[in-house]
């Protein structure tokens, strides 16, 4: 019997293909385009401690095999999120499919958001995701992604405050990403989620100005997959916790490639913009592959390229 179920720390998912935060909306928007039950899970758009308008347009610029985006974490804040959004999410997804992503400017804000989520919806979601790419009021953007001690403190505090599984989503752009990952590993997170999106710039040659209102933004999409692949490869050799890899997953082959490099699961982001039912196709593809290769599970393939 082939089994595509995927355990990430304390959390268990129906399959290893997850909708990535900010690229899957609140899932219910996709209901008429795909079969939502085929998602391993969906990480909802990050909710921040206070509502955020987001960045000035243009927010999207196409680049070869990818996009530069600059959304600025636009979201309605926790009150609207809990009262209006979550009920619709719960209608669209099963409990084991819902991951709530939170971000704050301080550890206290993160913890409060986690606690509120846990109190209100703890029974109805699968996990919490700490988006560590948020600007820190004192130390700037990505602080919790680049300071091992801050990352450790953040996770340790959150873990002791809630009993839900906790994922740590961070950006591997900083040279010390392996150190940060080690700190997280020690702090006892359920899974490490990598975004692997380097910063980029595009200039509009007609206006002769940056194409993005904010000038700079992270690059996502297949273009950056080989970068993500290398970082997952390196992380797999460094840490023990399961890795969720995002960055350019478009086909089942891409998902498999990340798993061979060491990812236990993958997050699918911008591919959904182009093909809203892409997650279903990836899961179908992985199942067909297991069939063809007579694999009972994909677990044995995780990190297999290292062996």
């Amino acid at each position: 019997m082939k089994n595509i179920k995927t355990k990430l720390g304390q959390a268990e998912f129906r399959n290893p293909v997850l909708g990535a935060s900010g690229c899957t909306g609140y899932a219910y928007e996709l209901e008429s385009y795909t079969d939502l039950s085929r998602y391993g899970a969906v990480t909802l758009k990050t909710v921040t401690y206070t509502p955020r308008h987001g960045n000035h347009p243009e927010r999207i610029a196409e680049v070869p095999a990818g996009i530069i985006s600059s959304i600025g974490l636009q979201n309605p804040g926790p009150d609207v999120f809990f009262d209006d959004t979550m009920p619709k999410v719960i209608d669209a997804l099963d409990r084991d499919q819902i991951i709530v992503s939170v971000a704050g400017d301080t550890i206290e804000e993160y913890v409060e958001l986690c606690c509120r989520t846990s109190q209100r919806y703890g029974e109805k979601i699968a996990a919490l995701e700490i988006n560590a790419a948020c600007p820190n009021v004192r130390f700037g953007v990505g602080y919790f992604s680049r300071d091992p001690q801050a990352a450790f403190d953040l996770i340790e505090t959150v873990k002791s405050a809630v009993s839900l599984p906790v994922f740590f989503k961070f950006n591997t752009n900083f040279e010390n990403y392996l150190e940060v990952a080690s700190a997280i590993d020690e702090a006892g997170v359920d899974a490490l989620y990598t975004s692997n999106t380097p910063l980029g710039l595009k200039i509009n040659i007609r206006t002769r100005r940056p194409a993005i209102g904010n000038v700079v933004g992270p690059i996502c999409g297949p273009a950056i997959r080989p970068i993500g692949m290398l970082r997952v490869w390196n992380l797999y050799q460094k840490v023990k916790m399961p890795i969720i890899a995002s960055g350019g997953v478009y086909t089942w082959e891409d998902a498999l490639e990340y798993m061979l490099a060491g990812a236990a699961a993958v997050g699918v982001g911008s591919a959904q913009f182009v093909q809203p039912d892409v997650v279903k196709h990836i899961v179908d593809g992985l199942e067909r592959y297991m069939e063809r290769e007579s694999l009972d599970s994909l677990t044995s393939l995780v990190g297999a390229a290292h062996r």
Partner: protein, 251 residues
């Protein structure tokens, strides 16, 4: 969803009309809505392209497309028979009330694309349609219109001449203004209409990643009682009320 290209026709040197057979989409579409076309089946160009529905007839819909970059250039090489991957109809289109009788449609260049389908529906309901087009040098575009004789068509030489031309038109007694074109033109039309106290709707453009409301890439700054906020061009729009759109203010 696949749409089969059944006709391709040049309208001007850089604009072309594409007619697709796609019953499901054609039947569901309403004026002001858009489609998102996949240009080819590889990763370059990566994103779909958002285009207004120019017309609907029976099982077919058409697009009026200006060739401006890689994606639209690629499209000009499509041959009838090709099947194209399309999402739609998407977004919220134009709206009006039964009581309103006379409409001014202001089109700026290829922005005219979304107004033809609107004109068709208005004419079907026996409404009166005035089309004001700018800039005049682009008027060859109107060759794409299937029923030009049923509208009253006038021109503004360019943007400078536009307020006067629109004022003249509004003076005839217009119940509602619809506009689609570059931001600068729409701002003029919005101001002029509001100054005349005539309701006005604008069809807004933004670079889009998804077209279906999941990326928040297509932000339009909207005035609300609580201050400025961003709405989605692809889902809350592309059509917005002129009063609510903020063309300049930042937060």
């Amino acid at each position: 969803m696949l749409a089969k290209l059944i006709e391709f026709r040049s309208v001007t040197e850089r604009d072309a009309l594409y007619v697709f057979d796609c019953p499901e989409l054609a039947r569901a579409a309403s004026p002001g809505q858009i489609v998102e076309l996949k240009i080819n089946d590889c990763l370059d160009p990566f994103l779909r392209r958002p285009l207004s529905i120019f017309d609907v007839e029976g099982d077919t819909f058409s697009l009026l497309v200006r060739t401006v970059g890689r994606g639209t250039e690629y499209m000009t090489r499509w041959k009838p028979g090709v099947e194209v991957d399309v999402l739609g109809p998407l977004g919220k289109g134009f709206s009006w009330s039964e009581k309103e009788e006379t409409f001014a449609l202001v089109g700026g260049g290829v922005g005219m694309a979304s107004l033809n389908f609107l004109a068709r529906r208005l004419l079907e309901q026996g409404k009166q349609v005035h089309l004001l087009f700018s800039p005049k040098r682009d008027s060859q575009l109107l060759n794409a219109l299937p029923q030009p004789e049923r509208m009253d068509i006038s021109f503004a030489e360019n943007r400078t001449a536009l307020p006067a031309a629109l004022n003249a038109l509004l003076a005839k007694g217009i119940d509602r203004v619809f506009c689609c074109g570059p931001d600068g033109l729409m701002e003029i039309v919005a101001k002029t209409s509001m100054a005349n106290n005539i309701p006005c709707q604008l069809s807004m453009e933004r670079h889009m990643a998804c077209g279906i409301g999941i990326c928040l890439g297509c932000a339009i700054a909207i005035r609300t009682e609580q201050g400025l906020t961003y709405k989605k061009a692809c889902k809350d729009g592309p059509v917005f009320e002129a009063e609510e759109v903020s063309f300049h203010e930042e937060h």
